[in-house]
Symmetry: C2
Subunit: 343 residues, 2 copies
Amino acid sequence: MTYSQAVLNGDRLALARLLTQVENNTPEGRAALIELFPHTGKAHLIGVTGAPGTGKSTLVNQLALLYRKVKDWRVAIVAVDPSSPFTGGAVLGDRVRMRDLSGDSEVFIRSMATRGSLGGLAQSTANMVQVFDAAGFDVVIIETVGAGQSEVDVARLAHTTLVVEAPGFGDDIQAIKAGILEIADILVINKADRPGVDNTEKVLKSMLELAHPTERVFRHHGSTMRTPFDQTKGEPAPKQDSSSALMWIPPIQRTVSIESKGIVELAEAIARHVAHLHQNGGWVLRERTRLEVELEALMLEALWNQFLEKVPQAQYESLLDKIVQRNISPWEAVEKLLKGRSK
Amino acid sequence: MTYSQAVLNGDRLALARLLTQVENNTPEGRAALIELFPHTGKAHLIGVTGAPGTGKSTLVNQLALLYRKVKDWRVAIVAVDPSSPFTGGAVLGDRVRMRDLSGDSEVFIRSMATRGSLGGLAQSTANMVQVFDAAGFDVVIIETVGAGQSEVDVARLAHTTLVVEAPGFGDDIQAIKAGILEIADILVINKADRPGVDNTEKVLKSMLELAHPTERVFRHHGSTMRTPFDQTKGEPAPKQDSSSALMWIPPIQRTVSIESKGIVELAEAIARHVAHLHQNGGWVLRERTRLEVELEALMLEALWNQFLEKVPQAQYESLLDKIVQRNISPWEAVEKLLKGRSK
C-alpha cells in the first residue's frame, strides 16, 4: 500500500511519515502529493499570525480544543517559524502545545522551521496543508510568527486569516502592523485582561479605517440601506457584517486565551467569515489564487532545474568569476546563459 | 549624456532619477545598471536590522553623521520596510531622518516599501545599492525592519550586519531573535540607558554561545595563545577579536543613539570587522555569494519571462481551471507546460 492510500485510510503513522517525506521533498513525497491532490479542497484553512508574545500558540490550542469538543472536527496545526532560519525555534512552542492537546488522536500538530529560501518554506507549508486536507482534517490551522512576507504568504494560503495583537506592546507596534492589518480577516486582541486593552482596540479601529477605505464607504452605505439578504432573514445581521453582503469588515475579537475567554465568540466570527466567503464567491477566488501561486512556484522550480541540467557547472562558475572581477555584469551573464541554452 | 555617465560625474539629480528608474525596473534603469556595474565593488555595505522600537533609524543617522564628520565619507542609506507590503510605512521614518541629515549633499537617503514579492524587494534593494556603490558612496547602509527572511536577505547583501536590540522588550524577544543572532556580525544594545540593559546583555551573550558553538571553541584556544598578527602589532588586540585571526565573535556594543553615546565605539567595531573580512578572505567570499544570489535571481526572472512568452495565456488559464476543479494536480500541470514548451 502506498503512503497516500494509507493516509486516506486514516493511518496516523503513515501520515506522520508522509509529512516528513513531503517536508524533505523526496520522490515518494511528491508522488503521494499527486495522488492525494484530487482529495483536497475540503478543509477550512485558517491562518493565525502575530508578533511573539501575543499568545498565538495558546489561542490556537484553545481554538483547536473548542473545535474538538463542540464540533468534533479533526484539527491539524502547522506551526511555521520563519524567524528562525537556522535553529529550530518551533520546537519549544510544541512542548507547550502538547500539554493541552496530547492524547487526542484527532488533533495533529506539525511544526516547521525555515530551511533555505522563504519561497521554499511557503511551498513546503502549502504541501503539508494539502496532505492534511486530503487526510480528512476539517480544519487546518497555519500558525506563523514575525512580520512581513511570511504573513502575506500565510494569508495567501488561508481562507481566513487571524491577526493576533496584545495590549501593552508599545507605540511602535502600530508602525509594523500597518501593512499586516490589510491581510486580516479577523483581528484578535488576546490577553485582553491586560491594562491598555481599550486603547489597543481604539488604535486598531482607526488603523482599520485607514487600511480599508473601500469598506468604509460601504459601511456608510450600510447604515442607510440593508441588503435584501439581511431583510429576508428576519433577524439582526451579525454586527460586524451588517453593512453589506459583499464587503467584509474585519471584526475585532477580544480573548484571554489562557482562561479560555472569548474563544467561542472567536469561533463564531470565524464561522461568519466562512459563510461570507461562500456567499460572495470569495472561497472559490481564494482557492484559485492559492493554487495559481502554487503552480507558479512549481513552474519556476521546474524551469530552474531544467536550466541547471543544460548549463554545465563549469560555465556557470566561470561566468560568476567574471562577474566578481567586474568583467561582465550579471545582466550580460544572463543573456549569455540564455543563448547557451538555446544552442 | 546617459544617466549612468551623469551619475558617475556626481550629478545628484541624475542619481535620484536613476534610482526611481531602477526601482521601477525600466529599460533605462536596466541599461544604466549594466553600464555602472564595472564601477561597483568599492563601497562598504552595512546592514542594520532589528525589531521596531529598538531605535534603528536614529542609530543609522548617528552613524552616518559620524562617518561624515570624522571620515568625510559619502554615505547612502537605503531603508527597506518589508513589514508594510501594501502601504508605504517607510516614509514616516524618513521625516525623522531628514531633521538630522538634510542639507548635507554627501548623504543620500532612499526608502523602499515592499511591492510584489519579497524576492522582488531583495533584487530592487541590491540594484539600488549597486547604483550608490558606482556613484562613489563610501558606505551604503541598508536598514530593514522585521523578522525572518528580510533580515537574512540583508545579511546576504551586506559585508557587515548589525542586529539592534533594546532592553525591556520582554522575554518573548528571545525566541524570535534566536535565528537572527546567527546573521549578526555586531550586536548593538541601543537605548542602553534603560533599566534591564545588563540582563539583555546577559541573555544575548548566552544566546551567542548557543548560536556560535565553533567560535566558543576558538575563544578557548585564544585565551592561551595569541596569533602572530596580534603580537607584531605590539598593542593589545581588539577585545572582541583577540581569540583568533580566523573566527569572528560578534561583539556586543552598547549605544544610546539619541544622545550619540557609544557611536564612536560602534564605528570602531565596524572597522575591526572590515579589517577582519579583508584579513581572512571573508570580503571576497561575501562579494561572490552576493553576486551569485543576484545572478540566480536574474536568471530565474529571465527563465520565467521566456516561459510566459512561449505558453499562451489561454493554455495556462485552462490548466489552472483544471487544477481548481481537482482534475489535474499542479505537478502534472507543470509537466504538461514543460512539454508544451519544448515542442
